[in-house]
């Protein structure tokens, strides 16, 4: 399998803080790779190192099989990126801004800018200055800038920052469209689990600067454990009853009155009857399965995404 990005013990230290620590990450060609982590986990620092904006303290980066330090210009000519918020010259229109960048890139094709604007839905905004654009429009213009030179790799750092729910949905559709139509490798970082879950083929989870795991989302779905989730008026009594009468010991208390039972040999109806006959109120009894959020919480040691 060809790799688009590979890092070797990539690290970035600031004084006493390790923003990124011994990161070994692989992004395969043609996939959408979700880079997931809490705020301050090290996602943006890693991405800035991949784009040559920050110098690593240690380690190497290979993109398209080439060392980034020695081949920066050759590599970045084939890469498009949005790093957090997209910055533009507010006194120019969207087209004029893209013309500036096109000139600096040496982009000769006149149609490239128009095509890019059509893809992101900004082709009709011919006179509006970027200073008057909404956040969503600026992010879309950022994507236009990133794709107009037909890169082989797109790196999006928190592309949905500042967008409303409709904007987030549109951004997701756009990214998927780019991946399908242009067969581009896409690395997208986010702290929003649901976004990554809907977009990515594989996910890398970073926590406190350390890459904990790279997982295939399809494989995760297949491997995800099914469980029976129960909410009752007295969980401690429910646990005693199930252990003593049904020999159910494989369970986990997730909230105050919510229990997950992983032993599915006992039919749910039998468990329900036992609890009801013991005068317990059963408020919820439903079959579920682990998702990315559960997996994330499991390997990062709990707490919300931030």
């Amino acid at each position: 399998m060809e790799t688009a990005i590979k890092t070797y013990n990539l690290s970035k230290h600031y004084s006493t803080q390790k923003a990124v620590d011994q990161l070994n990450m692989t992004v395969r060609k043609g996939e959408i790779f979700g880079f997931l982590g809490r705020n301050g986990a090290g996602k943006t620092t890693t991405i800035r190192m991949l784009l040559g904006l920050i110098k690593p303290t240690e380690g190497n980066i290979e993109i398209f099989g080439m060392d980034l330090k020695k081949n920066k210009n050759r590599i970045l000519n084939r890469v498009g990126a949005i790093v957090e918020y997209s910055g533009f010259y507010p006194n120019l229109t969207g087209t004029e801004n893209l013309q500036v960048y096109a000139r600096l890139m040496g982009l000769k094709k006149q149609k490239a800018i128009q095509e890019a604007l059509e893809i992101v839905g900004l082709a009709d905004e011919t006179t509006k200055l970027v200073g008057n654009y909404s956040m969503g429009m600026k992010q879309r213009l950022g994507i236009a800038r990133a794709i107009m030179h037909h890169p082989e790799l797109l790196i999006f750092d928190e592309p949905t920052n500042g967008l409303d729910p409709i904007g987030i949905k549109e951004m997701r559709k756009l990214i998927k469209k780019l991946a399908n139509e242009r067969d581009i490798t896409i690395l997208v970082s986010s702290h929003i689990l649901s976004e990554i879950e809907q977009l990515a083929d594989r996910v890398g989870i970073i926590h406190h600067g350390v890459l904990l795991e790279e997982i295939d989302l399809k494989a995760l779905k297949n491997a995800n454990r099914k469980y029976l989730q129960i909410r009752t008026s007295s969980i401690s009594q429910a646990i005693k009853l199930m252990e003593n009468n049904l020999n159910i010991f494989e369970h986990e208390l997730v909230e105050e009155n919510v229990l997950r039972i992983y032993n599915l040999d006992t039919p749910p109806a039998q468990i329900n009857r036992l609890l009801v006959e013991s005068q317990l109120e059963v408020m919820e009894l439903v079959m579920k399965e682990d998702n990315l959020e559960d997996y994330f919480i499991g390997i990062t040691g709990g707490g919300s995404i931030g």
């Binding site: 040559g52 910055g87 600096l104």
Partner: protein, 234 residues
């Protein structure tokens, strides 16, 4: 921003025009030969103000603006991803500042000629215009070198405040030392000595003034390039 700098460049010719007209009105030029109202003197006085006060502040402002706007508009990281060589980026900014300063210099010269014509000052002929033009262009080049340290300051601090404070400090020192021998070696007043070789600062050779200006300028550019190449773009 261009209009603001044009307005700033208009200040010295305009104020000097008013001063010279006032002198004329009070007959100070005819009484005891106190003052000479002619184009070369007027242009020289205008240039004096630019070197001493207005130039540093105005050209310092446009230098700071040309650099800091990339941080303020958050466009710098997008430019560097293109990719643009960081040294070439600094050199292109220097070129922009140079062109802008020379444009303002030519504008000031033109405006001075207009005011001289309006005021009916004597001595507006091709020879004098060429001579004044040479002095103005030389001043513009020296002022360009002298604002290069501001580029370094802006790339470190990324704000207007430090640059404005620095230029105010420069101007204050200019005013304090303008009648002393140190005028010849303090970089930001040294242009006065170069365009007016008759200024009596015999303690220091003429070439000291050039060295002070050239070192300030080239060191400013060099340190900016070194710093910017090492800087992490956050």
């Amino acid at each position: 921003m261009l209009l603001i700098t044009l307005a700033g460049a208009s200040v010295s010719p305009f104020i000097n025009f008013l001063m010279f007209k006032a002198i004329e009105r009070l007959d100070m030029d005819e009484v005891n030969n106190v003052a000479v109202i002619d184009f070369p003197t007027y242009a020289d006085q205008t240039n004096f103000f630019i070197i001493l006060i207005i130039g540093v502040m105005l050209y310092g402002l446009l230098t700071t603006y040309s650099f800091s706007r990339e941080y303020q508009d958050d466009t710098l990281k997008s430019l560097l991803i293109i990719p643009i060589n960081r040294t070439m980026f600094i050199i292109s900014k220097c070129l922009l500042v140079f062109i802008w300063i020379m444009f303002l210099t030519i504008y000031t010269l033109g405006l001075s000629m207009v005011f001289a014509l309006l005021g009916g000052f004597a001595g507006i002929n091709v020879t004098n215009i060429l001579q004044v033009g040479k002095v103005y262009l030389l001043t513009g080049f020296m002022m360009f070198l002298l604002v290069m340290p501001l580029m370094l300051l802006t790339s470190i601090l990324k704000s207007y405040v430090a640059s404005v404070a620095f230029t105010i400090g420069i101007v204050i020192v200019n005013l304090v030392i303008m009648n002393s021998e140190f005028l010849a070696i303090y970089p930001w007043s040294a242009p006065l000595r170069i365009v007016n070789p008759l200024i009596n600062v015999a303690t220091f050779p003429y070439w000291y003034s050039w060295v002070a200006i050239l070192i300030t300028g080239f060191l400013g550019i060099l340190l900016t390039i070194i710093y910017f190449n090492r800087q992490d773009i956050q």
